[in-house]
Amino acid sequence: MVTEPQVGNKTGNIRAVNVSKEFANSDGGKTLALKELNTEIKPGEFVCLIGPSGCGKSTFLRLVAGLSAPTEGELLLDDKPVNGPGYERGLVFQDPTLFPWLTIYDNVAYGLKIRHIYKEHREEVEEFIRLVGLEGFEKSYPHQLSGGMAQRASLARALVNHPKVLLLDEPLGALDAFTRMNMQDEILRIWKERGTTMIMVTHDVDEAIYLSDRVFIMTPRPAKVEKIIKVDIGRNETYGRQRNSVDFLNYRSMILQILDFTGKVQTPEFYL
């Protein structure tokens, strides 16, 4: 079932209609975390949200996950309003958040067990553990795994539920550069095989260009989507992109320009 390509399936469409989210501050005021967002993410699309902190990326992800409700507007999954969390929208945090009292096997099997479909889908647990390259670690406990391995286990745990949409909140943020690049390829491979809609929050411009079909550039105060960039670079057979191609670098400088990070020359204090 895992290996069966599902690219081109028609589910996993996310639509945001006029979505705003306000948070109450401790001093009684309100912070607008997201302002009148209107967008559509197509089934099987890979979208990255990028922007400085406070621009509402994670807020948007949590709204899609159903972990918080929009103050105004509506979020639709396949034209049905999102109403609380559900297994069809998987979530992976920056912190692997594996349950420390369960073995890796039981962590991955968790979603199937609580949905009472473990018996029928038992073999998929093994398959997904293999897919993320953790065979042989089934009986280990989370604290025995390295950061990268733990993150792959948490990816497998989300994938075993066959979510229509996979929400990734800086999943690679805590990893070193090399593990990170390997994991990017792994995520792409899984995406290619499963055809799941991917929405990923990242701080890394290169990561966003390398992975996504479209990059949503978000800006804070007021938190909104500043620009959506369609990444039009061909993918290689592993589905990644050539990181040092001219196109790649052009996209990079374009995004940095929009984010206003191209070259703020700050005069060091000792020159003044």
Partner: protein
Amino acid sequence: MSEEFQGKKKSKIAFNYRTLIPSAGLLIALLTEVLIPNHKDTKYSDLTNLRTVLITALSISVLLCLLSIFIKRLRKRYSYQGWFIGGSGIFIAVINIVTAKTHMLPQLYFPSLSRVFNVYIEDRSFLLTCVISSFTLLIEGLIIGTIIGVITGIVVGWSKGWSYWIYPIIRILGPIPSSTWIPLALIIFSAPKGAAIFLIAFGVWFQITILTSSGIQATKKSYFEVSSTLGASSLQNLFYIAIPDALPSIFLGFFNATCSSFVALMAAEMMGVKSGLGWYINWQKEMIAYPNVYAGLIIIAGFCYLFITLQFKVRDKLLKWQKGVIKW
């Protein structure tokens, strides 16, 4: 680590000098007993119980020393414990000297060790009924207190509404020492046994409730969030996330509760229950039969030690996942 590594390379037969220390210590204790004559005023000077105990212990220690030449695991453990067992032998020798041998401590309150051991022979059937009586009281109190404590703890830790009503009551009632409830317990429960169980269960209930509820409240929010996005209902979050996460805390509560339940047991046995170790010790003290008091104390100490050790074993088994996360 390197020692272990070398041990694997070498043949299995090896000798560690530390495995001789227990025998040496016990031998010193035995020699003190045999070679130094008792003080002329020592009562029951002809009792040889201490000798019997020491000879038995010495034989076992020699046997273990020989066995540990061949069994690697035993060698490792026995040599580690060597100094402690040897030291205990010296301790017995010192006790023997200050009591039976020299009467440096008054004989009335500090009888010879042989007399203490003699109690186990003369009073054995009676002591056995006391042990059984205390044990059933303790177990019943612990089980009832634990069950009610875990349930209250979960309810208070999980639900804000229940917490609003129950938590202040716990805060008010909990810190009151068990023994202060004796008058009330005797009115409510007609049988003193029921009152005794209530006293023990009450102390256990408080400890376990507090640590269960705080364990559940301390569960990371992100665990619930991940669990929810994997399809868990609120009730599943409670049983599969909150309770397993709180388990170390619940165990800590149980550990504290066991310790306080021994105190409660002693208090409970002093009110009308005509058997049990606490009652035995108190009764013998009033009769100024100090050998019996010490005999009772030693049983209680052994009893507590076994109980706590057993609990640690169960915990290590159940909370295997915690190793490496938290140092116990």
